[in-house]
C-alpha cells in the first residue's frame, strides 16, 4: 500500500512526512523525522518514556499511529527549551539531579509540563499520581517529584 502523506504541526512548525499505517508516532518521530529526544522504553504504554502532547493532551507516542497526527499539533521534548534557554522544569531537573541515565527524562519533563499546565499547584500526591505512568529505573523518583513541586512553586511565584 502507498504510504500516507501526513501534514501536521510539531513544536509549532508545520511538518510533512510519509508513513505506513502500522508505524507509530514514536517510529515516525525517531526514524522518519530524526527527533530522537522522545524515547522508547517499552512500546506498550507502560513506561511513559515516549510521552508527547497532541493538541495539549498528554499521550504515549508508542500507542498512537503516525497517520493519526494529520492536522494536529504535536509537542515533543525538542520544543521544550526556548533556544538555549531551558524550561524551568529542565533547569530544576538539573539542579536537583533528578536524572541519572536520562532515558526517562524527556518523558518525565513532558508529563510534568502537562501537569503544571493542568494544575499549577499540585500536591505531592497529585504529582505522584499524574506521573505514575512514567517509570524511572535510576532515581527512586523522589528527586523528580521534588524538582516538579519546586518548579511549580517558582512558576506560581513568577506569575
Amino acid at each position: 500500500m502507498a504510504k500516507h502523506h501526513i501534514s501536521t504541526t510539531i513544536n509549532g512548525e508545520p511538518v510533512e512526512f510519509l508513513c505506513n499505517t502500522e508505524q507509530t508516532m514514536l517510529d515516525v518521530l525517531r526514524d522518519e523525522l530524526h527527533l530522537t529526544g522522545t524515547k522508547e522504553g517499552c512500546a506498550t504504554g507502560d513506561c511513559g518514556a515516549c510521552s508527547i502532547t497532541v493538541d495539549g493532551r498528554l499521550v504515549c507516542a508508542c500507542l498512537m499511529l503516525g497517520v493519526e497526527a494529520e492536522g494536529h499539533a504535536v509537542e515533543t521534548i525538542e520544543g521544550m527549551a526556548d533556544g538555549d534557554k531551558l524550561h524551568p522544569l529542565q533547569q530544576k531537573f538539573l539542579e536537583y539531579a533528578a536524572l541519572q541515565c536520562g532515558i526517562c527524562t524527556p518523558g518525565f519533563l513532558i508529563a510534568s509540563k502537562a501537569l503544571l499546565e493542568h494544575n499549577p499547584d499540585p500536591t505531592e500526591e497529585e504529582a505522584r499520581y499524574w506521573l505514575a505512568g512514567n517509570l524511572c529505573r535510576c532515581t527512586g523518583y523522589d528527586k523528580i517529584i521534588r524538582a516538579v513541586l519546586d518548579t511549580a512553586a517558582d512558576m506560581r511565584g513568577a506569575s
Binding site: G45, M64, E68
Partner: protein
C-alpha cells in the same frame, strides 16, 4: 509485507460502509491503547483500521432526556473533565479514570474498554451497574442494547460485521440514586483488576433501598450481573444482615481463574468484600 489499510472517515455512515464492505479483519481505532499493543505484538493483523476520532458526534458528551450520551471515541480524561457527568455518575467516571496512567487516560475510551472485551475491563461493571446501554450502528441501521450484552467471552463481542458502537447512554439518574465502582489491584496504579465491583442503588425517602444493580468484573469470562446480590440490598438500609447476604451472593456468582494476580479462592473472597464496600459508598452517595 504486512501493510494494513487505514481510513479516518468523518461520518458514521462512511465508517459503517467501510467496515461492512471490507474483506478480511477490520478493527475500529478509538484510543488505540488496546489495539496498538495487540498490533505491535503481532497478536492481531487487521487488514483495515478505521479511526473513528474524526467523526464529530463520536467525540462529544451530550445530555439526552435527562441522561447522557457519551460518544464512542470520548477519552477517559474528557469524561473526567465533564463536571455534570462526574456529579451524576461518579462511579462510572471513577471507573474510567482508573484505566492506566495520565497518558493512557488521554486516549482510552469507554467503548474501547468494552469492545476489547477483557473480563477485567474497569469501566464495564460500573456502566452495567448504572444501567448503561450502547447504540450500535451497522449496515441495517441502529440498535440499542445493554452494555452487558456486548461482551460474549474474552476478546469477543456480539457486534456483527460492519457494526460499530457509536455511543454509550446513561439513563436519567433517579432521585436518591448513587453509584460506585471499586477494583482491587496488587498496587495502587497501573495494573489489571483482580476483581472489580460496580453497585448502583436507589433509596426511598426513609433511606430504604428500592432498586439496585450489582455487577462484577474479572471473576468470570464476561462481566457479571449479580441479581441475587442486588436482591440482598433491596428493602434494606444496608444493615449487617443485608451486607452478609450481599457478600455471599457475590461470592456465589464468581467463576474466576487463578493467575499471578490471584487464586480462585482469593478472587472469590475479594469479590464479596468489594461488593460490600462499593454498596456502602453507593448508599452514601444516594443520600443514606
Amino acid at each position: 509485507m504486512y501493510a494494513p489499510s487505514f481510513a479516518a472517515p468523518t461520518t458514521v455512515a462512511d465508517a459503517v460502509q467501510l467496515l461492512a464492505n471490507a474483506s478480511g479483519v477490520t478493527r475500529v481505532l478509538a484510543g488505540g491503547t488496546d489495539l496498538l499493543v495487540q498490533l505491535r505484538s503481532g497478536i492481531l493483523k487487521p487488514d483495515l483500521i478505521v479511526d473513528t476520532k474524526r467523526i464529530p458526534e463520536l467525540r462529544t458528551i451530550t445530555t439526552e432526556g435527562g441522561g447522557y450520551r457519551i460518544g464512542a471515541s470520548v477519552s477517559g480524561a474528557e469524561a473526567g473533565e465533564h463536571a455534570a457527568l462526574s456529579r451524576d455518575w461518579p462511579g462510572v467516571v471513577e471507573a474510567v479514570e482508573l484505566i492506566g496512567s495520565t497518558q493512557i487516560q488521554g486516549r482510552a475510551s469507554f467503548v474501547g474498554n468494552l469492545c476489547n472485551a477483557s473480563p477485567a475491563a474497569d469501566a464495564v461493571p460500573a456502566l452495567v451497574a448504572a444501567g448503561a446501554t450502547v447504540v450500535i450502528a451497522g449496515p441495517n441501521g441502529e440498535r440499542e442494547i445493554a452494555v452487558e450484552q456486548v461482551p460474549t467471552g474474552p476478546g469477543r463481542t456480539s457486534l456483527a460485521k460492519g457494526e460499530m458502537v457509536i455511543a454509550v447512554k446513561l439513563p436519567p439518574k433517579p432521585v436518591r440514586t448513587g453509584d460506585a465502582y471499586l477494583r482491587f489491584i496488587p498496587r495502587t496504579e497501573m495494573d489489571i483488576a483482580v476483581v472489580g465491583a460496580g453497585v448502583c442503588v436507589t433509596l426511598d425517602g426513609q433511606g430504604v433501598c428500592r432498586a439496585a444493580k450489582v455487577s462484577l468484573g474479572a471473576v468470570a469470562p464476561t462481566v457479571l450481573v449479580v441479581s441475587a446480590a442486588a436482591a440482598a440490598l433491596v428493602g434494606s438500609k444496608l444493615d449487617d444482615a443485608a451486607l452478609a447476604t450481599l457478600d455471599a451472593a457475590a461470592q456465589a456468582a464468581c467463576n474466576p481463574i487463578s493467575d499471578k494476580r490471584g487464586t480462585i479462592e482469593y478472587r472469590t473472597r475479594v469479590a464479596g468484600v468489594l461488593s460490600r464496600r462499593a454498596a456502602a459508598i453507593a448508599f452514601k452517595r444516594a443520600g443514606a
